[in-house]
C-alpha cells in the first residue's frame, strides 16, 4: 500500500505544486521589483512593505546557519555525561526477562551486563 511508485494522483499533486511554486515565484518578483506607484494605480495598496522582500530571505539564511550550530549544540547537550547510568543500562535492559536455556538452540538475544562483557574481553580465560 505504501509503495513509492508513480500514481495518477501523485502526478496531479506534483503538477499542482509545480504551477503553484511558479505562481508564487512570479508573485514574489512582482512584489519586489514593480514600483509602488504602479501597484497603487492597479488598486493593490495593502501589500507588505518591499523591505520584507529582502529581509525575509536574509532572516531565512541566518536561521539556517544558526540551525547548524544549534543542532550541533543540542546533540552535545543530549549526550549522556560520563557519570550517568545511561551509559551502562536503560529501562528496557532493566526490565528484560530471562528466557529459558534450550539445548542446541541459539541463545536468545539479551542485553549482557557490563561486568560480564568486561570479564570476557579483558580477563584472559585459562
Amino acid at each position: 500500500e505504501n509503495s513509492p511508485a508513480p500514481l495518477p494522483e501523485r502526478a496531479i499533486y506534483g503538477f499542482a505544486l509545480f504551477l503553484g511554486s511558479w505562481f508564487g515565484f512570479i508573485l514574489y518578483l512582482i512584489w519586489a521589483y514593480v514600483p509602488e506607484t504602479w501597484l497603487f494605480s492597479l488598486g493593490l495598496t495593502y501589500w507588505p512593505q518591499k523591505y520584507w522582500a529582502v529581509a525575509l530571505p536574509a532572516y531565512l539564511l541566518v536561521a539556517v546557519g544558526i540551525g547548524y550550530i544549534l543542532l550541533f549544540g543540542i546533540n552535545m547537550m543530549s549526550t549522556a555525561p560520563l557519570n550517568s547510568t545511561h551509559t551502562i543500562t536503560d529501562n528496557y535492559a532493566k526490565k528484560q526477562q530471562q528466557k529459558k536455556f534450550q539445548e542446541e538452540a541459539i541463545p536468545a538475544l539479551r542485553d549482557i551486563p557490563i561486568s560480564e562483557v568486561n570479564r570476557m574481553f579483558f580477563l584472559p580465560e585459562k
Binding site: M76, T79, A80, L82, N83, S84, T85, T87, I88, T89, K94, I114, S115, N118, R119, F121, F122, L123
Partner: protein, 188 residues
C-alpha cells in the same frame, strides 16, 4: 612490591602507572599525569601580556599592564590549585572499600572513600565524550537494598585519561581484589 610502568594518555602525553601491593587484599594504583609544559605556560603568559600591551598602546592607561600581571599570577595559582592534577590514585582494600585520591599541582589532595558494601564492580566503560568515543574506568555503585541495580557511576582517572592498555592493567588488579569478596564469607 612496587613497580612503575610508562604509558600514554588519550592525547598522547606520557603518563606513568605505579602499582603497589601493600598486602594480599590491599593494592594501590597511582597514575601520574603529564607534567605542566614550560612551552605552553610561556605561550599563554606571552599571549596575555602581548594583548595587554596592545590594549595599553591603544588606551595609554598603565593600569592595564599591572592588571595583566596580577591576572596572570592569580590565574596561575588558581590553575595549579583547582585544575592541574598531578597524580590520581586508587587504593583498593578488599574488605573495607575503595579510596580515590586526586593530588593537585599545588599540593592539595582531595579524597573520596566508597565502602565495599556500595561497590558493585569496577569496569571499563565506553562512552561518547566531545565527538570521540573513549574508554574510561569507572566504579559501579549499588544500593545496599537492591544488589541487582546500578545506582551510580563514578568515573576514575578523569584528568590523566589513560589509554586502554593502562586501563586493562588497572582493571585486572582491581578484579583480583574484588574476586576475593565472593570467596571470603561476609559477616553481616
Amino acid at each position: 612490591a612496587m613497580e612503575e610502568r610508562p604509558y600514554r594518555s588519550a592525547s598522547g602525553a606520557p603518563i606513568a602507572l605505579r602499582r603497589r601491593q601493600h598486602s594480599a587484599s590491599c593494592r594501590e594504583l597511582a597514575v601520574r599525569c603529564p607534567r605542566l609544559q614550560l612551552r605552553s605556560l610561556s605561550a599563554v603568559t606571552s599571549a596575555v601580556w602581548l594583548a595587554a600591551y596592545g590594549l595599553f598602546a591603544i588606551s595609554e592607561n598603565s593600569m592595564v599592564l599591572s592588571a595583566a600581571i596580577f591576572t596572570t599570577l592569580i590565574g596561575f595559582i588558581i590553575y595549579l590549585h583547582f585544575v592541574k592534577v598531578d597524580q590520581e590514585s586508587l587504593l583498593v582494600i578488599g574488605s573495607l572499600g575503595i579510596q580515590v585520591t586526586s593530588s593537585y599541582a599545588s599540593g592539595k589532595e582531595s579524597t573520596t572513600f566508597i565502602e565495599m558494601g556500595r561497590v558493585k564492580d569496577v569496569v571499563i566503560n565506553e562512552a561518547i565524550h566531545m565527538q570521540k568515543v573513549i574508554y574510561y574506568l569507572c566504579i559501579l555503585l549499588q544500593d545496599p537494598g537492591d544488589p541487582q541495580g546500578i545506582s551510580e557511576v563514578v568515573p576514575l582517572f578523569q584528568s590523566s585519561k589513560p589509554r586502554l592498555d593502562c586501563l586493562i592493567e588497572v582493571y585486572k588488579s582491581c578484579q583480583e581484589i574484588l574476586e576475593q569478596r565472593k570467596t571470603a564469607p561476609q559477616s553481616s
